[in-house]
């Protein structure tokens, strides 16, 4: 599910992946609003009955090489700081990947499939500010598409202010102004710009740094994650 207001931005990545599963594009970020995606990659698990058995959480299955990369000497300070924050972003891929496999194999019997009460407790709270932010983002997206980029800006600024922890609203907006015209990929640095008062690095630092950047999956102790569940426990 690509959260991209311009579907063309997602096309090259879908084409490169050549997925055999449904690969969709959510141009209005409606799934973010509905399911609580605050950043990417995040995921929810839905069982055969349409019930969500794991609410939105960070969904990494492979440790990024950026986590272990040495910061080269001589980098501009801002870039070095950015790399330090990226390296500080938690990585739970060694727990999340086996959790997925366990659920695929065992379904409702998997220890990682939450009960409805657990899902509700773990799901992101949505108060008035978060809900208003969603409305503002949707309005901005609509105006960007029907009127022009500038019409979106005031509404997206408002969305950012109302829900500062929603990185999908911010990163989507920033990349549209920081990506150079004619670029083949969206800018990921999302640095200071003349349109928004905010940018990736300064906002990450202000909100607790890389360590606070994700919604970590609640998977229990590391040892528990490597124990078999379901039939394998009795084997």
């Amino acid at each position: 599910m690509a959260l991209d207001v311009d579907p063309a931005h997602a096309h090259r990545w879908i084409d490169a992946a050549q997925p055999t599963h449904p690969s969709l594009i959510d141009t209005t970020h409606a799934t973010g609003e509905a399911f609580g995606f605050l950043n990417v990659p995040m995921a929810i698990w839905i069982d055969e009955n349409g019930l969500i058995v794991r609410p939105a959480e960070s969904a990494s299955i492979e440790r990024s090489p950026l986590r272990d990369m040495e910061i080269p000497d001589g980098l501009p300070e801002r870039m070095a700081t950015m790399m330090r924050e990226v390296k500080a972003i938690p990585d739970d891929s060694d727990l999340y990947r086996p959790a997925i496999i366990d659920w695929v194999r065992h379904g409702a019997a998997s220890r990682y499939a939450m009960s409805p009460a657990e899902v509700i407790e773990a799901a992101r709270p949505i108060g008035d500010a978060e809900a208003r932010a969603a409305a503002c983002f949707a309005l901005g997206e609509h105006l960007r598409r029907t009127v022009g980029d500038e019409a979106a800006v005031p509404w997206w600024r408002k969305a950012h202010a109302l829900d500062p922890h929603n990185w999908t609203y911010k990163r989507q907006a920033w990349t549209l102004v920081t990506t150079p015209a004619g670029a083949t990929e969206n800018d990921l640095i999302q640095g200071p710009n003349e349109v928004y008062e905010s940018n990736w690095l300064d906002d990450v630092i202000a909100l607790g740094g890389g360590a606070a950047y994700t919604v970590r999956p609640r998977l229990g102790a590391a040892d528990d994650a490597r124990l078999p569940s379901g039939d394998e426990r009795d084997a």
């Binding site: 599910m1 690509a2 959260l3 991209d4 579907p7 096309h11 990545w13 879908i14 449904p22 690969s23 969709l24 594009i25 959510d26 409606a30 799934t31 973010g32 609003e33 509905a34 399911f35 609580g36 995606f37 990417v40 990659p41 995040m42 995921a43 698990w45 839905i46 055969e48 349409g50 019930l51 969500i52 609410p55 939105a56 997925i100 695929v104 409805p116 899902v119 509700i120 799901a123 992101r124 709270p125 949505i126 108060g127 008035d128 809900a131 208003r132 969603a134 409305a135 503002c136 949707a138 309005l139 105006l143 029907t146 019409a151 999908t168 990163r171 989507q172 990349t175 800018d187 999302q190």
Partner: protein, 127 residues
């Protein structure tokens, strides 16, 4: 959820938001919010929280459901935010599947094709 008029049919509202008007109130899945009776039910030719015929007052219903309603008066368009009555993100897709999802070809995606399957929905982006 984009709104271009101050009133709409209850059916359209349900398609847009997943909230359906039922005898017990406005409902989505197992959650129902009672409707007020009497004056706020609307009069002939007007819509209210309950509505006449199939028409409803969007702002009135949205307020009842705790849905923010932001309006851009310059461009004459508004947007509804999610209902805050439950206080949480959606936990049951049977109640409402987000609208407007498209596939690589730009065609609307039929969510019913996923019924009966185990799904991991992964949100990613080009940014």
């Amino acid at each position: 959820m984009i709104v271009t008029a101050s009133s709409m049919s209850a059916t359209e509202f349900a398609d847009l938001t997943g909230w359906e008007r039922k005898p017990e109130g406005w409902c989505r899945g197992e959650i129902c919010v009672p409707m007020p009776s009497g004056a706020s039910a609307g009069t002939a030719g007007t819509a209210g929280v309950s509505g006449t015929a199939d028409m409803i007052d969007v702002a009135a219903v949205a307020e009842r459901l705790g849905m923010p309603y932001e309006v851009d008066h310059t461009h004459g368009v508004g947007a509804l935010g999610p209902a805050t009555v439950s206080g949480r993100a959606l936990t049951d897709v049977r109640a409402h599947w987000p609208a407007g999802l498209i596939d690589r070809a730009g065609d609307r995606f039929d969510a019913s094709s996923l019924v009966g399957r185990r799904i991991i929905m992964v949100a990613w982006a080009s940014w």
